[in-house]
Subunit: 393 residues, 2 copies
């Protein structure tokens, strides 16, 4: 890039590193296969295919003239209805189609929600560690990010008192539960405490629940916020259909919020996208009720994978699984003084285990790696013991 | 909305009107059908279906496990290759896959390109009239918009001297040709003159060519910029597959730019969307070469519709088609002193002719209506004579 070109770019974007997942995936090309097939624990994708019925419905809708034209900005009425019903049943709350905005994935849900609330110069509070795309979204919009530290000793959960100390002058608090990158699951009472703090201070709570369908089987509702009157004055809930239905390539997510906030998000979405892709919306509207058992079985399978990861890591000297939940384990490596990037890169090249360095998710995280374990089955995860044995920096 | 909620929203978004197309479409619900079926000339959509082969390819890709997962941020390699080849052939230029970024439609292409170049407080130069979503995109990002007036007497083309006077301190000039809303087609020599001005002043030229496939049959390349060495230092070209392939519901567009700019756009797109929906990308990669004849036939059909509109409007007293091209005619109504919104609304309710008021596209445009005539066939367009006869305010 000539200095002439670079000087004419938006510095808020230019100073950001390239997207991390492709950069990390490039390391895997240096792996020679000596330890067996590559274990890709980098991107948060499920390691099993979508249900064949869903593929058939996707094909049916995509091949239909009915979904070739523009659709409503806020989403297909059938999906808004079906998803509102699903949310209302899961949380026991009063949620209607008018509270739903369909987006092209959950990154877009976050982007649009943030734009509806905050402009350049405003501040948003997040956790450290945090999901890197939330951080870069705010950075490129010129929105100041502030952080609440979540310590490993506390299971990477935020302390409500620490949050209370930082709510002054912020437009929103952005949380992810089950958490990306740590896997930490925020308890319903903790979420309620935090939401009450936000409500009292007039701060929006943006709660990204992309991974909620992979809470431990038998867990109840992730929280009770939507069952309380007035939830919509504080809460903006984000969700992704990509993980539950194994269709990230089709790009469908959703926002649940007050009708007033949905109207603002619609203005943003009209500019970002006009409407989310329609055919997958039609397919998901059918799949939401019809594939509930299949999703429950996957939830149990991801639970088995989490358990396999837990047991395996407990038997590897020097390595510690400090948090685990939904799709992710947050792993402390044994190499003090080494950067997590150096460890992750060597692990990828020499042992064929692809993970994301902790430092990509915030500060003082050099000792951590994120294992997106959902992408590997329990057998493969048990093989980590052999992969990590004798690994040194 | 409680004042509490509205005070906590982003004022840059809150002060924008709701998206115009749905608002205009609501007027049609007041039409009683007395003059025949509703003529929807509001949204820029083609009034014929996609090719059956394309529908089959869309279905095939959407139903395939291969496209269910995440894809490359920049787009499917097959589509980037196919589209780069298409652009290189059309413009006689050196354009490779690395110069292409696939987006979820052309609104997103504009949004991502602008974010790659400009931050809140920067300025972008546009035309008056302009495409409203370009204006609202800039407004919600806090980017200052400046305007070059395009007069009806000049066929709504911008004057290079007027542009030269306004290039100081702007990051980019955004143009649309063939134009939305006016239909004005910028001649290759005018585009070159403007691009040279931008190059000399270090200003990016964002050229939205969403409607280029509907230039009059037999017209050559829309311009020669891509055939010139160094085009990528100034030009960022935007395109949409929605119109040519009649699939706006599938959301696929593209940016053509330097590799350095593509890398910046990829950072934005990773946050906006991760990747454009994959299945339609795969289908379009097949359709680009295979459906060239079908697209040429549609181009001829749209040309016939333009001709029908031209002839019909010439025979209606007091109404004047001041510009026409590609999808749009910009029509001067006879009612001095009336707002274009009042005229458009009454025309929709009483005569079942749905158009977009000129004032939605800029200032001093109260005398105009945009007719997106591509949505009606030549017979229906000839019927405008009867629909407009005797219409009064």
């Amino acid at each position: 890039m000539s200095t002439t070109t670079s000087a004419r770019l938006n510095p808020l974007v230019a100073r950001l590193a390239p997207p991390p997942v492709p950069a990390v995936q490039a390391w895997a090309r240096g792996y020679d296969g000596a330890r067996g097939a590559l274990m890709d624990l980098s991107q948060a994708v499920p390691g099993y295919p979508p249900h064949p019925d869903l593929l058939a419905w996707l094909a049916e809708a995509a091949g239909s003239v009915a979904y070739a034209g523009y659709g409503p900005i806020e989403g297909e009425p059938a999906l808004r209805e079906a998803y509102a019903g699903h949310v209302a049943a899961l949380y026991g709350g009063a949620v209607a189609a008018g509270n739903i905005h369909v987006t092209a994935g959950c990154n877009q849900a976050f982007f649009a929600a943030v734009m509806a609330l905050a402009r350049a110069g405003d501040a948003v509070l997040m956790t450290n560690p945090c999901y890197f795309n939330h951080e870069t979204t705010l950075a490129m919009l010129g929105i100041e990010t502030r952080y609440v530290d979540c310590a490993g000793e506390n299971g990477f959960l935020p302390e409500p008192t620490a949050i209370a100390d930082k709510l002054d002058g912020v437009k929103a608090l952005a949380l992810v539960s089950p958490n990306n990158p740590t896997g930490a699951v925020y308890r319903p009472d903790l979420i309620k405490q935090i939401c009450d703090l936000c409500a009292a201070r007039g701060v929006w709570l943006i709660l990204d629940e992309t991974y909620r369908d992979f809470l431990a089987p038998g867990a109840g509702a992730p929280h009770g916020l939507l069952a309380e009157a007035g939830w919509e004055k504080t809460l903006i809930q984000l969700y992704s259909f990509s993980k539950s239905f194994c269709i990230p390539g089709h790009r469908v997510g959703a926002v649940t919020a007050s009708e007033a906030v949905i109207a603002e998000i619609a203005k943003v979405m009209d500019n970002l996208q006009i409407c989310a892709p329609r055919a997958p919306q039609a397919a998901i509207a059918r799949g939401l009720p019809a594939l509930a058992d299949w999703r429950a079985a996957n939830r149990a399978e991801i639970g088995r994978r989490a358990e396999a990861l837990r047991k395996t890591m407990a038997g590897i000297d020097g390595w510690a699984l400090e948090a685990v939940g939904a799709y992710f384990g947050f792993v402390r490596h044994p190499f003090a003084g080494q950067s997590s990037q150096a460890v992750a890169e060597k692990l990828a090249r020499e042992r064929g285990v692809l993970t994301i360095p902790g430092e990509y998710f915030g500060t003082r995280l050099e000792r951590y790696l994120r294992f997106a374990f959902a992408n590997a089955d329990a057998d493969a995860l048990r093989g980590l013991k052999e992969r990590l044995a004798g690994f040194s920096m």
